[in-house]
Assembly symmetry: C2
Homo-oligomer: 471 residues x 2
């Protein structure tokens, strides 16, 4: 198995110029010390049983349970809809887009090997929700409703609409045969409803948080149902986890990722971390990483977060990008804007299928320039050119290299990012596993839902003088 | 016509708390002065003929030409593929997703009113390109190839592959009947090829840059071909343009947007500008705005940009987000992370179609909470709750309100953002119309394409010692 590697030379001083990059001597000096301390904290969390995501790749019985459930369902349904938001959706999308590509649903049954099509309902947007439910044959559709807590407001709202439509389509008795929940093993409304309705419900281990749940039944059920080889995903993740527990910073890819991105932020003010894979299939992985990095690290240090007004928060700003598309969008800013960014490229060395550029109209300079190359080769040259352009103006980057994009390398990439995130939490001095800052919005949502009208919100301080400040 | 409005009270001191928001007195003081000076610069650019995008809404003959071409093609084809990248794609996506929704291609002929399906080829990713070309019936497909310069490397590479496949599918003689170019009126390889092959080619006016081209034939051809009412788009844009040329800051929505976002960055260090619409249909608009804001403002002031290493660049970091999805991704960072961000919400007041949440399993608290609401109502409550949560911790936001999402309001929104971008360029002291920073990457791409191999790049300084810094 060829695991992904992380190249970090373009973040170092001798490549970027004096004062622009990190001194490589620090890798065996203070950065090794910082990393060692973070790794100690990481191990303490692991020993306290907080890092359930680490155990998922070797939990053979849980994986077997998921695959059995998936096998028992896959043959009966043509459509699988994953209903979930945030951590209940982003990881599954990363798996599906990474390994099936973006056109899976347009393939015919044979090209899909008779596996179901796969859809996502995340945002409670009535346009999208209605458009999807209107066109599916609900008699041939399985809904995998995913909520760790079992009470996510958006997901519960969508479930009610789905259940009503299923009643009309298949009859009340048959509804439960079209539902499959993934939720807390003991608590929450979805778990209770599963028991009451006799709906099968897979567990999210209680020490696995939503944004660290991609390799739990949250991501694996859908993956297995559409034919992704779950064993290979987990094998890649397990192999990478071993590598990411090494004591030496320069031998530990998660340590390098976390320590260098943290040092870039803390020591050099480079607080914007742009994740820019050169592959459409990794776009969803970039969005998954954006959530992981933002929600784990954007915190008030020490306190575990609080709701008082304060500007003492820390945490980088992750930006999900896509090469080469965003060379036509963000590159100008990356080259000439404030020097407050680090780019994390992702590169696929070998592509299974590539397209030759035939070489027509060679008399036209722009046509002749690309003749003889492949489309994948062009994309790769663009990555290398952009990285080199950034280096020449003293702007740092790292490159995650996948030999090829497959189950093992994607599983390994996801594990690398998860471990790096926990290490970065230690480095930033925050708890990477909580998200106290989202509670106020949830509380206010519940209040506004209960008050039930614009008018009632009109009595709210924030609404009193809204009108005058409108143009 | 109800034009979108911009609400900015949650950026002001009396709402956010002392020292956290802007003093409203400044709106008629120094901010009015800054704005007046920016508007002067804007008018000078207009008078020099640099702002071609301003004239597009009232250029009836150009619009008529586009609609005629679209009408002449639409009836012959079932599939339209827009081949273009960056500014040649993002604006058209904003129009299509905004007005057709994300499921247009899954509708049947009748539901689409017999207008063609619409696809995009932007990234030169072989996976995506092959997947699309493999499954389209090329005999029923029109390719609109869009490149202002006529030599965009990604687009030219894809065009060669398309042309080869068309030759096989329809025969060499018929190829030109499946192509339609949108490019510079006089110069470039595409224009020359159009003349040589007798391919119809719409003009991009020479004073309309790629990222300001959405209301030119770049965006309008595809829009008209799939049945979007171009006249209404332009009418909305024209009405908003009038409003955005007003002299008084507090009466000018583009002025407010540009001046307050610039002041937030310059005066309060809030350099991350998060555009977060609460509508799936506006997600593509957020990505379009991200390009517009990043590529126009991320510059070295005064010089017009240069390639020497320097950290003197300016420009905010725009982040495209989506509500309510990103409450489960970015909100933790927005609430508790560094106070360096402003959120620009977009809200749709009235939705044409909404879904009632039926109210099942009312005994479960999370089910009962949303019963009696609609899905759109929930989404709106989430926006208001999130905005209020941010306000309570002293974090600023603005809200763009669309009464309803239609041709007029979307056209108006796009024009508002474009004028605000030029005004912001004046405020930041940069030329919002150029992009000198992307040239080095293009030059290196051409060099690497010419050298043609990894080995040749091996002689390059950046590649010499790459290996040792890999883990």
């Amino acid at each position: 198995m060829k695991l992904p590697t992380l190249e970090y030379g373009d973040l170092l001083e001798h490549r970027l110029g004096p004062g622009r990059g990190l001194d490589p001597a620090r890798l065996r000096g203070d950065l090794q010390e910082r990393f060692a301390s973070a790794l100690l904290g990481f191990r303490e969390r692991r020993d306290r049983g907080e890092l359930g995501f680490l155990d998922l790749p070797t939990d053979a019985s849980l994986a077997r349970q998921v695959v059995e459930v998936a096998d028992s369902f896959a043959q009966w349904f043509e459509e699988l809809v994953v209903v979930g938001i945030g951590g209940s959706s982003l990881g599954t999308r990363a798996l599906a887009e990474g390994l099936l590509g973006g056109h899976w649903n347009e393939l015919d049954d044979e090209a899909r090997d008779h596996f179901p099509r796969l859809h996502f309902l995340d945002n409670p947007d009535p346009d999208t929700t209605a458009a999807l439910l209107d066109r599916l044959d609900l008699r041939r559709t399985l809904f995998n409703v995913v909520s760790k807590s079992g009470g996510t407001v958006e997901t519960i709202a969508q479930l009610q609409i789905i259940e009503e439509r299923l009643r009309a389509a298949v009859g009340e008795e048959a509804v439960r045969g079209h539902l499959l929940f993934t939720t807390d093993p003991e608590r929450g409304d979805l778990r209770r409803l599963a028991d009451a309705m006799q709906v099968p419900a897979l567990p999210v281990p209680s020490n696995v948080g939503g944004r660290f749940s991609v390799l739990s039944p949250v991501g694996l059920l859908a993956a297995a149902t559409v034919g992704i080889e779950v064993d290979r995903l987990l094998a890649g993740a397990a192999a990478m986890a071993d590598r990411c527990l090494r004591d030496e910073l320069v031998e530990n890819p998660a340590g390098i990722l976390a320590t260098l991105l943290h040092a870039s932020d803390r020591d050099m003010g480079r607080s914007v971390h742009v994740f820019m894979p050169y592959s459409d299939r990794l776009r969803a992985t970039a969005l998954w990483f954006q959530q992981l990095w933002a929600e784990s690290l954007g915190k008030r240090p020490g306190t575990g977060g609080s709701l008082e007004a304060s500007s003492a928060g820390v945490g980088p700003t992750p930006v999900a990008a896509l090469g080469a598309v965003d060379q036509h969008s963000l590159l100008q800013l990356l080259m000439d804007g404030p020097d407050d960014k680090v780019v994390l490229f992702a590169r696929i060395r070998r592509r299974r299928d590539d397209l030759a550029i035939p070489g027509l109209h060679l008399e036209a300079p722009s046509f002749g320039r690309v003749a003889g190359h492949t489309l994948g080769g062009l994309l790769d040259i663009e990555l290398r050119a952009t990285r080199e352009a950034l280096r020449r103006v003293g702007r740092p980057s790292l490159t995650l290299e996948l030999d090829t994009l497959d189950e093992e390398s994607l599983g390994a990439t996801l594990m690398l990012c998860q471990i790096a995130t926990v290490l970065a939490g230690e480095l930033y001095g925050v708890n990477p596993l909580d998200q106290p800052g989202v509670e106020l919005s949830k509380t206010l949502t519940a209040e506004f839902l209960a008050s039930g009208s614009e008018t009632r919100e009109g009595g709210h301080p924030s609404a009193v003088d809204r009108a005058p400040w409108t143009v």
